[in-house]
């Protein structure tokens, strides 16, 4: 397992060449509850998840919540490793969705606002069996996104970071940046278009 590292970090952009070493770890956990792989994953993702907890406002309620998010996310990776499917998402993407869901549930618990549905009901895994999306397409898409982000103008990059990793609605992001809501939305639209991650049809909303 993990005979070679296939990822290299160069100046903030990472080039995925052949495999996803974190996906290998998840599969090793799913197949034989490999604790070594788990520690490997922990060492890589725990600091990122803690960084995410901080940027997304969890630490505003005390440092303990950030550690709780780290521990819960990592425990979930262990428990749900069987559900990971590398043809649908990279390990990094999967970790992001798990951390996001747990963050939402943590915040909701803190707010004591009772809701019937939990994050697992609201962010269901899409049933996109056999739609041609595969591992190669996935990693190509991720590479495109990484390259795209590096080329985004600073103002669009800033808005995208705020929207995804901070606990901010677009309205709040606009207030933060001292910009009209319309400007924030059009920067988001521009950035999504450049990164080619948005909706390809008109919304007609």
């Amino acid at each position: 397992m993990m005979m070679s590292r296939h990822t290299t970090k160069t100046g903030g952009t990472r080039t995925v060449t052949a495999t996803d070493e974190w996906a290998d770890c998840l599969e090793a956990i799913a197949e034989h509850q490999d604790r070594k792989s788990f520690v490997h994953l922990f060492n890589h993702f725990a600091p990122q998840i803690k960084g995410y907890a901080r940027s997304s406002g969890l630490t505003g309620m005390g440092e303990a919540l950030a550690d709780e998010l780290v521990q819960e996310t990592m425990t979930n990776l262990w428990r749900k490793a069987h559900l990971f499917d590398r043809s649908k998402a990279s390990a990094t993407t999967w970790v992001f969705t798990i951390a996001r869901n747990l963050r939402v549930d943590l915040l909701r618990r803190q707010s004591k606002h009772h809701t019937t549905l939990s994050s697992d009901d609201l962010w269901l895994e899409p049933h996109t069996e056999g739609d041609g999306s595969d591992w190669v397409a996935q990693s190509n898409m991720e590479r495109q996104i990484r390259l795209g982000i590096a080329q985004l103008p600073v103002d669009q990059r800033q808005v995208i970071g705020k929207v995804f990793l901070e606990d901010k609605s677009h309205q709040e992001a606009a207030e933060d940046l001292n910009l009209p809501l319309g400007t924030v939305k059009s920067r988001i639209r521009l950035a999504l278009k450049k990164l080619r991650v948005g909706l390809e049809v008109d919304s007609h909303e």
């Binding site: 995410y52 780290v70 996001r100 809701t115």
Partner: protein
């Protein structure tokens, strides 16, 4: 196949987990029907992953690793079989997956309440504060009197279809109507129409015949 989608900035907020509970539910239900938005969500999640990966990490104490290892000690990873069990929970194919817990015995078993001759309503998630999450059910060919909305109204069609001056809507279609938008929806003739609706404030009837109804539309 849906023709009316949420704005993509909304999809981005959904993926980031920053939308309100009720808006998250609306998007989640729309996704149940819409392949394009599902694919956009997949791409947006990949973007989230890349951004997470680029975050400067925060130091994590060795004790947290030990605590986490202890918590998985006797915890076996979930097996694939468990996932199929989850699938069996969904007994009513007409009810989209995100609504199964709120409509566990199907649409017909809900305590519908008659609002107008052709229109029934049922609040499916009651919370003292915030917007109301309800289902509306219009009889085949039923016409809803002209009205505006005192606040925003979000709709996702679940069954059947309806039309108003702006278009024809089918299952999965996502609509957002502002307070100043006035419309007069008519259900398709072929079958009843059921919609998920989130209203920030009660509807306000503008057609003179129905204006007396306003105090009751809460």
């Amino acid at each position: 196949m849906s023709n009316f989608h949420p704005d993509q900035t909304k999809l981005a907020e959904y993926v980031a987990g920053t939308l309100s509970y009720h808006e998250t539910l609306l998007i989640s239900v729309h996704l149940h029907y819409c392949k394009e938005c599902q694919q956009a969500v997949q791409r947006l999640e990949a973007l989230g992953g890349v951004l997470l990966d680029d975050l400067p990490g925060e130091p994590v104490g060795e004790d947290l690793l030990q605590a986490t290892l202890a918590s998985i000690q006797n915890d076996e990873p979930v097996h694939r079989a468990r996932r199929e069990e989850v699938g069996r929970y969904y007994r009513h194919p007409e009810v989209p997956a995100p609504l199964q817990k709120l409509v566990p015995r199907g649409f017909d078993a809900l305590p519908w309440r008659k609002l107008l001759p052709h229109l029934q309503v049922c609040d499916i998630e009651l919370s003292p504060q915030g917007p109301k999450i309800s289902l509306h059910r219009i009889r085949p060919g039923g016409r809803i009197p002209r009205h505006t909305h005192r606040g925003s109204e979000y709709t996702v069609v679940l069954k059947g279809g309806f039309s108003d001056a702006l278009g024809d809507y089918n299952p999965g279609d996502y609509l957002h109507r502002d307070a100043d938008h006035e419309h007069e929806p008519v259900a398709a003739e072929s079958e009843e129409c059921i919609c998920l609706t989130v209203t920030e404030d009660p509807l306000k009837m503008t057609s003179w015949k129905w204006r007396w109804m306003n105090p009751f539309l809460s």
